[in-house]
Symmetry: C2
Subunit: 289 residues, 2 copies
DNA sequence: CTTGCTATTGCGTAAAATGATATATTAACA
DNA sequence: TGTTAATATATCATTTTACGCAATAGCAAG
């Protein structure tokens, strides 16, 4: 029985949903279906009772689940003891972060780490920074770089890398956006459709009792920079994003901005994953700020 | 980690010899080499220290051996409990026997067994009946059909299927072989090159203080029938072989033959393998004679 | 220097896995 | 009662992988 099949099976036991498992495990639904079918064929028994709306473990499925768990844990233990034997960490760490983070922090973080542990491979998934926390909660990756939410879920651990102020940016050549505080109604805003920064802005406007004009809701801070540079309106992003943007010369920072609390950017992981020595090594390689 | 790789590895741990393992596991040496290479590559460590004359387990190899043993035993246990769950035996039994045995006993033995346990698959290896015992001792197959040796190795268990007298056969149209007892010197003998029957005949001639003329030493009782039918000489075989031979009408049985003890034909297995429920089921399906 | 023994490699073919797409089935809903 | 959305599976073309045969390479012993 091979480990990939086992982990697919185990994941499917959790989700009871072919689509979600195939997505999470980065294979196509058809491949997953066939892997399971083939598994059932070799065992000559059915593991899941499924119609087109639901998936349920059978008795035999439960039995196999136990086996699969024990077997993978045996494998983990072996790998661990092999590492102890060879005195060198090896394996695979998966990281989720935004494009900006991959340009800015990630490089500096991983550079040293890679030298210290050359046999550890990295898988990098980029996406909207605001999805980092949920990505980790859903077990999609080992680690993520993102903003610390106001209320950190108890399953997660967070380690600050830096603090970045929020800045408001406007197109270079539109004097009308020079001081939007005078004229919020006439100032189209470009905001994240969700996430910590959006919440902070919403709260600020509420407190001021202002109903701003929202021109566009986008996903990804990089997209905000892009739209602002094209002249669509003003937006709020972490300063770190601006500093790493190739468009930094195409927008200007507005000084009379709403005063928003800076965000804490850092590494985030499920506590249970920190028991993995590889992940712990990377975690510990970040000196406390 | 998949089970086939593990069992190849474990077997190689025992033999420390690529050639023998590949033969025993029915794959080509090159496939075995590459399986091990690939295993070492995934583990990113070397498991065997090998030059062109010797193969030795490394430290890491020993560690992996432990893992492999535990993992396969976990798998065995799972399959066992799955069988208990479904109340139906399933798996694979491998049997070694001569061509004759496959024609005569095997069919009747397996016919009922197959009906009782349709999910048990069979692998059949045919070869010289005299090799049956050593085949079992060398762990090449689960069960074998063969003659009970005078001294049964203590690791083995034996269950008689039938007793077959030994008969001497001669070509049909050669009157000179009618009563070889008158003229052993002038009677070319065709004998097995080894094995129980050969030993009995040798002993008989020794006791009579006769030095017979041995025309040919062959392997396999079927080959003896073949050569005798072609007129090369006379031979001694179990009656059961003659009865199942397509050449039965091309040879005749000599009545004034040396009086040799009949042989016991039966099923043979390593005692330890009888703990396997599949094999035990087949074993038990044979009523005691 | 040759021979025998072994593990390995090159290479052509066969088998298997995969992903994109189409299909089938069914629950939910209008 | 259609219609839509959700979801597992089947089909097919393509890529990847595994395998066996034959050749090779390394080494010890005669």
């Amino acid at each position: 029985m091979d480990n990939r099949t086992l982990s697919l099976f185990l994941h499917l036991c959790e989700t009871l949903h072919f689509g979600r498992t195939s997505q999470a495990m980065h294979i196509s639904p058809s491949a997953l279906t066939r892997t399971i079918q083939q598994l059932e064929e070799t065992l000559d028994t059915s593991l899941f009772e499924r119609d087109n709306r639901s998936v349920q473990l059978t008795k035999e499925g439960v039995l196999f689940q136990q086996y699969a768990q024990e077997s993978t844990s045996l494998w983990q233990n072996f790998k661990q003891s092999l590492m102890e034997e060879t005195q060198e960490l090896q394996g695979e760490i998966s990281i989720y972060c935004s494009v900006t983070a991959s340009y800015s922090f990630l490089h500096t973080i991983l550079n040293d780490f890679r030298k210290a542990h050359p046999k550890i491979g990295m898988t990098l998934h980029t996406g909207d920074s605001e999805d980092a926390i949920s990505h980790i909660l859903e077990d999609n990756d080992d680690l993520a770089i993102g903003a610390r939410p106001d209320k950190l879920p108890s399953k997660l651990d967070f380690k600050r890398i830096t603090i970045s102020p929020l800045v408001m940016i406007a197109p270079l050549n539109n004097p009308q956006y020079k001081n939007p505080a005078n004229n919020w109604k006439g100032t189209p805003l470009i905001l994240s459709e969700k996430g910590l920064i959006r919440k902070r802005i919403d709260t600020w406007f509420q407190q001021k009792n202002i109903k701003p004009t929202i021109y566009a809701q986008v996903s990804g801070n990089e997209a905000i920079v892009s739209m602002v540079s094209l002249g669509f309106g003003v937006g709020v992003i972490p300063k770190i994003v601006l500093d790493n943007s190739p468009l930094i010369d195409r927008v200007k920072t507005i000084t009379h901005q709403p005063v928003l609390e800076p965000i804490e950017v850092g590494l985030c992981a499920q506590k249970k994953r920190l028991q993995n020595p590889l992940i712990k090594a990377l975690w510990d390689s970040l000196s406390n700020p």
